[in-house]
């Protein structure tokens, strides 16, 4: 399963989770089976005026990720993720690595 993780910096698995979800600085795609980072991309929607939550949501749908890890999403991102049945795990004040560990411990 591929996971979408919204992070603050491009620092690999030790990147901190960004405290803004749809407007996070970087988007990481992580393979939960092979435990590897598939990609880290700069969030090009970050400075959009309106509807960034929907734009990020659409991007996640297209990425094919079934799990999303990040800070509490805004209402628009949340509505897109809910409608698309994508699992959302809220993680704050930790690194991507810690967030994945917490998610697994919970599951």
């Amino acid at each position: 399963m591929k996971a979408f993780i919204a992070v603050e910096k491009n620092e690999g698995i030790d990147s901190k989770i960004d405290n803004r979800f749809a407007r996070a600085s970087y988007f990481m795609i992580y393979d939960m089976e092979s435990d590897e980072i598939l990609s880290i991309e700069e969030n090009r929607f970050k400075n959009g005026a309106h509807g960034v939550g929907i734009e990020t949501g659409n991007y996640i749908i297209k990425s094919g990720c079934k799990l999303v890890i990040g800070a509490t999403p805004g209402p628009k991102a949340e509505s897109v993720l809910r409608a698309s049945n994508i699992e959302f795990y809220i993680a704050e004040n930790c690194t991507a690595k810690e967030a994945i560990e917490r998610y697994r411990a919970k599951a």
């Binding site: 309106h50 509807g51 960034v52 929907i54 949501g57 659409n58 749908i61 897109v80 409608a83 698309s84």
Partner: protein, 282 residues
Amino acid sequence: MFIAVASGKGGTGKTIVSTSLALVAKKCTYIDLDVEEPNGHILLKPEIEKEVPFNLKIPKIDEHVCTFCGKCADACVYNAISIIPNLKKALFYPDLCHSCGHCTYVCPVNGAMEEVYREIGKIRLGISKDIKFIEGRIDVGVISGVPIISWIVNNYIDFNEINIVDSAPGTSCPVVESVKKSDYIMLVTEPTPFGLSDLKLAVEIVKNMGKKAGIIVNKDRGKNIIDDYAKTVNIPILLKIPYSIEIQESYSKGIPLVEAMPEMKGKFGELIDKIICENGKN
């Protein structure tokens, strides 16, 4: 003749000035284009004769016909559409839609998308003594007042008559749309650092648009920071409304300035005659 009353800063007295101008001009049209919070009616107390709903076109997606290709969502620069192909869902967010029509234009599937109307506000038409009253008003939460402003300017204004437009504060699209077709802009400000700072922004708009303009200083207490600035940008100070408790009291009771202070009536009368004489086409 189209006189627009604008300001950078809110609360400087645009409505006091524009209603005063309308009351001294007598046979004229007063148009409230501060569509998010129109309140000229409080001072002019018009008799409303007609209320016209204002609609915008929005897309309607038929999920039974849609192939969920996502072309509409990709085309939407306002991110108002979300397509979830695997679940065959199409989400539409009307509050983000700017009614550009791009989505229906790019949709390759016949019958999957059509344009329907969504009411976003109302245009109220009425009369107050000899003044024709027009007001635009958008519903709470509507993303932009520009479409209703542009519709009113293009369909309700008779440019051969005297029109006084009360615009929104600020310096963004609704203000630009309100003053775009004006012959003259009156910028209302107050002699405070806040008034001056925002006046400078409003002057930038005026200069950018190549419009003729003058400044009205409200709550004036003698020589002030606006005087010096006006000289440097070469914009005349048309009128100063004194800082006075009587004006504040009459305003708080909903009495127009020119009715509460007869001496102001003469001053506004001279002002509008001068502006029409120097800038009017008719």
